[in-house]
């Protein structure tokens, strides 16, 4: 189990190698890499392209929140290895934002836990996206789909 919050980029291959090295009980490794996506938004008469964003976070609380989420995944599924690396600061379209990796003897558990971690970190970890548009900076509103995705797992907990 490991959680990291950092400003710099991460090396996906190296992270995964380190995570699984020496563990011969992992049959499936499910991984998610979140990237900054180029987006087009309509704002009145303007159609803006978003090329970059800045992720603000709450140092201290962020690590605690991610550790809580990771611990919860390990309670729910039989996992051999979990890793969350989340960046903050300024990133451009195409840049990596987050890496979530889950190793388990069985692929179903790996996939489910990985999706769970991604859904939960979007709604439970203190990050805020500030988008750069040609018209200026704009705080991203919470995405209803994210709340719905996270809520799936609340039901399963009962």
């Amino acid at each position: 189990m490991a959680v990291r919050v950092q400003e710099g980029d991460f090396d996906v291959g190296a992270e995964l190698d380190r995570l699984t090295k020496g563990n011969r009980r992992i049959g499936g490794l499910a991984v998610f890499v979140g990237l900054v996506r180029e987006m087009h938004v309509r704002e009145g008469l303007h159609r803006d392209r978003i090329d970059a964003l800045t992720l603000e976070h709450y140092p201290g609380m962020t690590e605690k929140a991610l550790e809580d989420i990771e611990a919860e995944a390990n309670r729910r599924w039989p996992l051999e290895a979990t890793l969350i690396v989340h960046r903050y600061g300024r990133m451009e379209a195409g840049d990596r934002i987050v890496l979530v990796a889950v190793g388990s003897p069985h692929r179903e558990a790996a996939f489910e836990a990985c999706e769970f971690l991604v859904d939960w970190l979007k709604t439970k970890a203190p990050f805020w996206k500030l988008e750069e548009t040609p018209a200026g900076e704009k705080w991203v509103g919470a995405h209803e789909g994210d709340d719905a995705a996270a809520a799936r797992w609340e039901k399963k907990a009962q």
Partner: protein
């Protein structure tokens, strides 16, 4: 006690954090919100009734009925948009 503001709430309040000493009858996070609104127009706007924001006490997300007694740090922030 330290109060911290994040994202657009920080810009609206005008400071990232501040030291405060609320009176003894400010017992919960909700009480603190009400009390903070009187500090400035920025506070009143950021912490307005009906605004969608959450809170943390000592870096754990809490509901507004949670007591702040003994807390070192209370934070206010808009909904999270990470990942």
């Amino acid at each position: 006690m330290k109060v911290r503001y994040f994202a657009w709430m920080k810009r609206t309040v005008g400071v990232a954090d501040e030291e405060i000493s609320p009176p003894a009858d400010v017992r919960t996070v909700g009480d603190l919100v009400t009390w903070l609104r009187n500090r400035s127009a920025g506070h009143a706007e950021a912490l307005a009734e009906g605004a969608a924001f959450g809170a943390a006490v000592d870096q754990r997300t809490v509901t507004f009925d949670v007591p702040i007694t003994g807390a070192r740090e209370v934070a206010f922030f808009p909904p999270f948009t990470g990942g």
